[in-house]
Symmetry: C2
Subunit: 111 residues, 2 copies
């Protein structure tokens, strides 16, 4: 193991996006901020806020990137807890997670 120091200090090898489950505020905030740390993810979130709810395909249509990449970004947003997906027949309907969004706003506001 070469990265012993890192391994000890910053949650052993846990990628930032998987830290959403923690209880520690700094990690919670970092995980949610990470979800917003890409322009396309911000746009996806804004789209969901605007439209209230949105089928995956509609998101893809709005974005200038491949469907598989949109799917990856949605996965990251889900891991950050900012977004939820609900299966609806052959489609998936996405919406924002109000609790997490509220928590994010609170954590940011307390800064």
């Amino acid at each position: 193991m070469t990265r012993r120091r890192n391994a000890l200090k910053c949650e052993p090898g846990v990628p930032t996006r998987n830290r959403a489950a923690t209880r520690q505020p700094a990690e919670r905030l970092a995980a949610m901020a990470w979800g917003l740390a890409h322009p396309l993810r911000v746009r996806i979130l804004q789209l969901l806020v605007k439209r209230e709810t949105c089928v995956c395909g509609e998101i893809v249509d709005e974005m200038p990137i491949a469907q598989s990449t949109v799917s990856q970004h949605l996965k990251i947003l889900k891991e950050a807890g900012l977004v939820q997906g609900e299966i609806d027949g052959p489609r998936v309907c996405y919406c924002i997670n109000p609790e997490s969004l509220a928590e994010l706003k609170e954590l940011i506001d307390k800064l």
Copy 2:
């Protein structure tokens, strides 16, 4: 050039952390969120908020990582516009950037 599609779609090769200068809200928010997208950077920011102002060395003392790594994180926070550094003799005194923090809070709140 092999990454043509990426190059076309998402600000040609500009790393997220360098997008702070943009005028587009989604990119601004993404760049600032990126600054907060690591637990140690959140802790640094919280430390600066709490202490009002802070010499670099004090930050290093509070963090469980090497001085060079803290310096890198501070650089990222500066690039995100969240933090300012002022040279004070042989030291550097860091403080939060109130305007950017206010902007961040506003952008998050508008979500």
